[in-house]
């Protein structure tokens, strides 16, 4: 049963091999490489999109929190601007309420100026009982900040007008 495989015999054995040109090997290697790189790239894209998603959601949450904080500040500001709060603050710093006596003292000094007739322009518009001026889109903080700017502008304008009126009175 023992086999007699001498080295001579081995040399004699000739096996037929498919002739695979070396360029096929290279092509296979390149394709494999492209596939691996593709997988790697796709995985990277996937994890990077996950990462961006997490960052995005964190930023969104932060934005919501900041908007909520802004609304809270606006509310605090409005509370501080309410007549009752202003009254309290005025009392705290020692201001007294306007009384008839106070008005008399003021008039005595400015009698001529005060008695000047004021002419106001009267517009001809049809009276209609109305209540709601306008309805605007609510965009949380953005709208609020825009309104803030608008109000501030109005306040500045009214101050300017006041200055002009006072100047005219002085003249």
């Amino acid at each position: 049963m023992s086999r007699k495989n001498t080295s001579k015999n081995k040399d004699r054995i000739k096996r037929d091999r498919d002739p695979i040109p070396w360029r096929y090997c290279v092509l296979t290697l390149v394709c494999g490489l492209i596939l691996v790189v593709g997988f790697f790239f796709a995985a990277r894209q996937h994890f990077s999109s996950m990462d961006f998603g997490i960052k995005n959601s964190k930023l969104k949450k932060q934005k919501d929190e900041l908007e909520a904080a802004q609304r809270q500040l606006l509310l605090t500001k409005e509370i501080a601007l309410s007549p009752n709060e202003i009254k309290k603050a005025a009392k705290k710093i020692g201001l007294t309420e306007l009384t008839a006596a106070n008005i008399e003292v003021f008039r005595a000094g400015n009698d001529e100026k005060q008695n000047k007739p004021k002419i106001e322009k009267i517009s001809e518009t049809k009276p209609v009982t109305s209540f709601v001026i306008s309805v605007a889109d609510s965009k949380k903080g953005e709208k609020q900040s825009q309104k803030e700017t608008k109000t501030e502008k109005k306040l500045v304008d009214s101050k300017d007008k006041k200055v002009v009126r006072e100047t005219k009175l002085a003249e």
Partner: protein, 433 residues
């Protein structure tokens, strides 16, 4: 024979290799076949169930309620606005040591430990998973509680880092000016539904819709993808013609006047005569919409538009106006006055009418005789038509709920003296507006 049998037993090595190879192939075929069958079973037969399980692990359904719209006065001062608040609740199913939890929570919220423990125990026994511990707290208060209740070693995704405790996002309606213009603004109830005033009448615009959506979380609980399944429609803000400073002055003056007259209640309205815009509308007594529960329901009534009364002599304007338009009197005309007039057996006295006077003077001194005579000259139908044209007997259409129509009966239902009564402002009802 022996050598022959040996020969037959001798196997062909190629055949042996082939057999082995086939065995290996069979093994692999069976193996892959088994896997394939299992995969088909999982992905076809159990597809829906497994998909649900997978989504359940990573996906949360979200419900976000948008903040209710803001109500502004004409100078853009916010009269009513909503802010985000948080409600702390406990899930007793997640809590093992109720006593220790109750003790810690009571300490953080300054409550009685026994009360908290009782609530938690009752909820656990009843299988409830939502026990409110602190309602509608602002961000600062919530942060303080988070700091007090923090267990550093605990691995928990959401705050507070305390087993079984969670925050729920809610919104709170605030009225920064308290009682100012309370009857105009009204209030919204605990479910954020407008229940009085502009809050009620403009509910459709102000209402914050609930946006449903979902969010995907990774194994660490971080949100990496989210989407709303419904279209976002922002609520609207409403700007009123009210001036908060005029409103404040009006309310102050009304309160003083009511107290001085020792009256039960009072109403005052300030209008811009050029445009008809309402600058102020005050009622006394009033209420604070921030704590409307503490006031009786009667105090919510906006008497300026919901209560009716007989206008009295002010209605003589309508009588003279109609007569002038119909040319039954002339503006410079004069009328012989008398101290009384009798219509259908009813006597109407006139302390100012016992002399000849112009219609202008008659209106100025509010002569009953002159007004009744003028109305009688005008006739029932024309008087009624003009009263209707002036808007009496129908609502003004103001954007406030439950506005009263007023009361102006048609001429068919009048009594003999009704025309005379109506000409001086009786037998009909109007609202203050």
């Amino acid at each position: 024979m022996a050598s022959r049998s040996k020969k037959t037993k001798k196997k062909n090595p190629m055949q042996t290799a082939f057999t082995r190879f086939m065995l290996i192939v069979a093994f692999f075929v069976l193996w892959i076949g088994g896997i394939s069958v299992r995969l088909v079973h999982l992905q076809v037969n159990q597809h829906e169930w497994l998909r649900g399980q997978a989504l359940g692990q990573r996906r949360d359904q979200t419900k976000e309620k948008m903040l209710r719209g803001t109500i502004y006065d004409r100078a853009d001062h916010a009269l009513a606005m909503s802010v985000n608040v948080k409600t702390l609740f406990a899930d007793p199913k997640e809590i093992e040591d109720l006593e220790a939890t109750a003790k810690e929570v009571a300490k953080a919220l300054k409550l009685k430990p026994n009360d908290v423990l009782k609530d938690l125990r009752e909820a656990k026994e009843g299988g409830k998973r939502f026990v409110v511990l602190a309602r509608k707290l602002n961000e600062d208060a919530a942060q303080k509680i988070n700091e007090t209740l923090e267990i550093k070693d605990l691995k928990k995704l959401d705050l507070p880092k305390f087993t079984g405790l969670h925050w729920k996002e809610e919104q709170k309606r605030s009225y920064p000016y308290n009682t100012l213009a309370a009857h105009i603004i009204g209030f919204s109830n605990a479910e954020d539904i407008g229940s009085a005033g502009v809050e009620q009448s403009q509910e459709d615009l102000l209402h914050g819709t609930v946006i449903k959506g979902w969010q995907d979380r990774d194994r660490l609980g971080r949100v990496y993808d989210e989407e709303a399944t419904e279209e976002r429609q922002s609520p609207k803000d409403v700007v009123l013609t009210i001036s908060s400073s005029i409103q404040y002055k009006t309310e102050q003056a009304l309160e003083k006047a009511v107290k001085a007259a020792n009256a039960k209640s009072g109403t005052a309205i300030v209008l811009d005569p050029r445009t008809g815009e309402i600058l102020a509308m005050a009622n006394y007594p009033t209420f604070d919409p921030n704590k409307y529960n503490e006031f009786p329901a009667e105090s919510y009534t906006n008497k300026a538009v919901q209560s009716m009364y007989s206008p009295g002599s002010i209605f003589k304007l309508v009588t003279y106006g109609a007569a002038l338009q119909e040319k039954t009197i002339i503006a410079d005309g004069e009328i012989e006055g008398k101290s009384f007039i009798e219509v259908s057996g009813r006597r109407f006295n006139d302390p100012h009418g016992a002399k000849q006077m112009s219609y202008g003077d008659a209106l100025a001194v509010s002569s009953n005789y002159a007004a009744i005579k003028t109305a009688l000259g005008l006739g029932k139908d024309r008087f009624y038509n003009y009263s209707r044209k002036f808007g009496f007997g129908s609502p003004t259409g103001i954007e406030l709920p439950a506005e009263a129509n007023g009361q102006l009966r048609p001429p068919q239902t009048w009594f003999g003296d009704s025309l005379a009564s109506m000409s001086i402002g009786y037998e009909l009802n109007v609202t203050a507006l």
